[in-house]
Assembly symmetry: C2
Homo-oligomer: 124 residues x 2
Amino acid sequence: MEEQVEMVGRAFVDHYYLFDTDRASLSTLYQPTSMLSFEGQKLFGADDISSKLKQLPFDQSKHLISTIDSQPSSPTGGILVFVSDSLQLPGEDHHLRFSQMFHLIPTPEGSFFVQNDIFRLNYG
Amino acid sequence: MEEQVEMVGRAFVDHYYLFDTDRASLSTLYQPTSMLSFEGQKLFGADDISSKLKQLPFDQSKHLISTIDSQPSSPTGGILVFVSDSLQLPGEDHHLRFSQMFHLIPTPEGSFFVQNDIFRLNYG
């Protein structure tokens, strides 16, 4: 159980940070009930979240993931994934550090969707 | 609903960071099912979590909370609280930056307990 949660967390993060090269593919991870807090801005539902992610100036950014912590959120199969990471924007030498958490909920198809997503840059 | 979630998140964080002066009071926030990931170390249950928190060299540390983001985790009243913060240890001039997330679950008594707690320092 413990190991499975870790594996799902890592597989999700690998998939999510395809972000780097294929932002449009992320929209399938969210559902109408999903929520995103991005630097304090709140977005509700897959459509608004997807629009927001497409607008970010992070195209072709490089993610250097430093830690992933995963825990089961409930006895019904939800998983919390907490990522501490840095981001290198194209043409920039320095890195932006950020933390992000995801709450994954199992789907009837045996996959997961993102119910909660909270992103914050860590200013130095 | 939205505002209530924010209020609970803020009230919880205020209470939690009493940490600074009264670490023992925190143990009442956890239950036997609770989980803590502290810098990658996993602890299960109120007793082990409480022992860990008491061992931390953060007595009389000062917390300077910079952001709190809260979201409902489920239709049954759970709340996710994401904190980005810095910590000043006694006798130290510089700050340690960290991020921490809590998953709060309502109790039958109308309060909340911490089901999930993940803490990571953000190295510069």
